[in-house]
Symmetry: D2
Subunit: 137 residues, 4 copies
Amino acid sequence: MREKTVEIRVIYADTDAMGVVYHMNYIRWFEIGRTELIRDMGVVYADLEKQGYHLPVTELHCHYLSPARYDQIVCVKTKIAYMRRASIKFEYELYEKSENRLLVEGYSVHAFIDDRGKIVRPPREVADRINREIIEK
Amino acid sequence: MREKTVEIRVIYADTDAMGVVYHMNYIRWFEIGRTELIRDMGVVYADLEKQGYHLPVTELHCHYLSPARYDQIVCVKTKIAYMRRASIKFEYELYEKSENRLLVEGYSVHAFIDDRGKIVRPPREVADRINREIIEK
Amino acid sequence: MREKTVEIRVIYADTDAMGVVYHMNYIRWFEIGRTELIRDMGVVYADLEKQGYHLPVTELHCHYLSPARYDQIVCVKTKIAYMRRASIKFEYELYEKSENRLLVEGYSVHAFIDDRGKIVRPPREVADRINREIIEK
Amino acid sequence: MREKTVEIRVIYADTDAMGVVYHMNYIRWFEIGRTELIRDMGVVYADLEKQGYHLPVTELHCHYLSPARYDQIVCVKTKIAYMRRASIKFEYELYEKSENRLLVEGYSVHAFIDDRGKIVRPPREVADRINREIIEK
C-alpha cells in the first residue's frame, strides 16, 4: 500500500518546559501526514470540501515512545489502514530522522459527512482512487 | 474607563523548552481579555457575529518584560483605548499574580467588517454601549 | 471516587475553519482537567516537578461524539481510572454545558519518571493521597 | 542584504471559525522564518543554546493586511533589520504564493541573554557572520 513520509522540523512553539515536544503537537503533524498522503493519490481535501464533503476525526489514538526535541527533524509516515462505506482510518508512525528513533505511533478514524453533518459515502471517484491504492499495496 | 481582569493558570501546553510561556501564547489571552471586557459591557461577540459583524485583528503589538512560568497565574487586564467609526483598539497588561510582576504590555486594533469583508460601522447599540463606558471612565 | 469538573469557555483560537473546536485542542483541556483533579487531592504537579518527578503522557485516546463551538462552555470531568506502581490513568468526559451534550470521551496514561527519564515509583505521600481517593470512591 | 523565504502550507489546525488563519498563528511562522534565515548564514540556534545563549522575543509587531485560507501556501520572507550590541531585529513579509498577495508584515526584536537571564553580547563568531550579511547587502 502507498505510504507517504513528510519531514517536519521541530520549532520552539512545539516544545514545552520539559524540553520536548508537547504531546498534543504531534497531532498537528498527523493532519499534515494524511493530507499529503491523499494529495499524492490525487485527492485534495480542500477540493473535497468545495464539493460539500468533510472528514472530521471521530477517534484518535497515540502511543508515545520517545520524545522529539527542538530542531530535530520528525518524519511522519502515514498510510491508510482501511476505507469503509463512510469512514476511513489512517495510521501514523513518527520517528526522529537522524537516529531513526520511533517517537509516536497513532491512528485516526474519520467519518465522511456532508455540509449538514449527515454521514454519507464519499464521492465515487475519491473512493475509487483510495481503494485502488489500498488494493494495489 | 472600565477595565476587566481575567485570571489564567499557565499550563504545560503554554510553555516552551526555555521553561517559560512561549511568546505567541500570550496572544491567546489577549482574546480572552477583550471578549470578557466587552461581555461585561453587555456586548457578546458571538451575538455580533450572528448579526453579521466581525472584528478581525488588523494590528498587534506586544512588549515582553518578564516571562511567566508553568502553574503561575497570569492576570490579563484589558481596557479600550479608543473606538472610531469602524475600528476599536484594546490595550492589555499581563502580570503574574503572586508577585504582581508585569509580564507583557500590548495592544490590538480591530476593524468592524460585515459578512462580505466590507468595512462597516458597528451596530448603533454596540457603539453606544462601548462609548458610554469610554466616556464615563 | 473523586471527580473534578472544570469549565472552559471556547475561544476563537480553539476553533477551525469547519466552525468547531479543532479536535487537537480538547487535549489541552485534558491537561487542565487532570492537573486540577490532583490539586484537589493535595498533589500539585509543579511541586512534584521540583522534587524531580515528571508524568509524561505515554498513551492517549479520544472518541469524538459531537463538536463544541465558539463561546460555548465546555465542562471537563476528570477522574482517575487506576494508579499502578509507576503509572497512572486519567479518564475524561467533556460535555457542552447548556445542553449537557457529550462532546469527547478520552483517557491518558502517564508514567512516573525521574529527572534522568528513568521510570520510578511516585513519592509515597503522593501515592497515598491518590490511592486514598481511589479506594474511598 | 540576505533574505530567506520559506513556504508553509496552511493546515486546518491553523485556521479559525472565520475560515481564515487565526491571527496568532502567523507568529509561529515568524519563528520558522528567522531560524532558517540565520541557519543559511551558518548560525544554528540550537547550537547557540548549547553554548548558553538565548534570544527571547522582547517586542513583536504585526500588521494584518489580508487573510490566508486553508491549504494555501504562505511564503515567509525574513530579513535582519539590524543587529546591535545585545539585540537583533527581524522583519517579516508573509504573502500568499499563488496570487502574490501580501498577508502580514511584522517584526520581532530579540535580546541576547545567557543561561542566567543576563543580557550579553552574542558570541564573536555569530556577530561576525550576521554583520557580514547585513553590510554586504
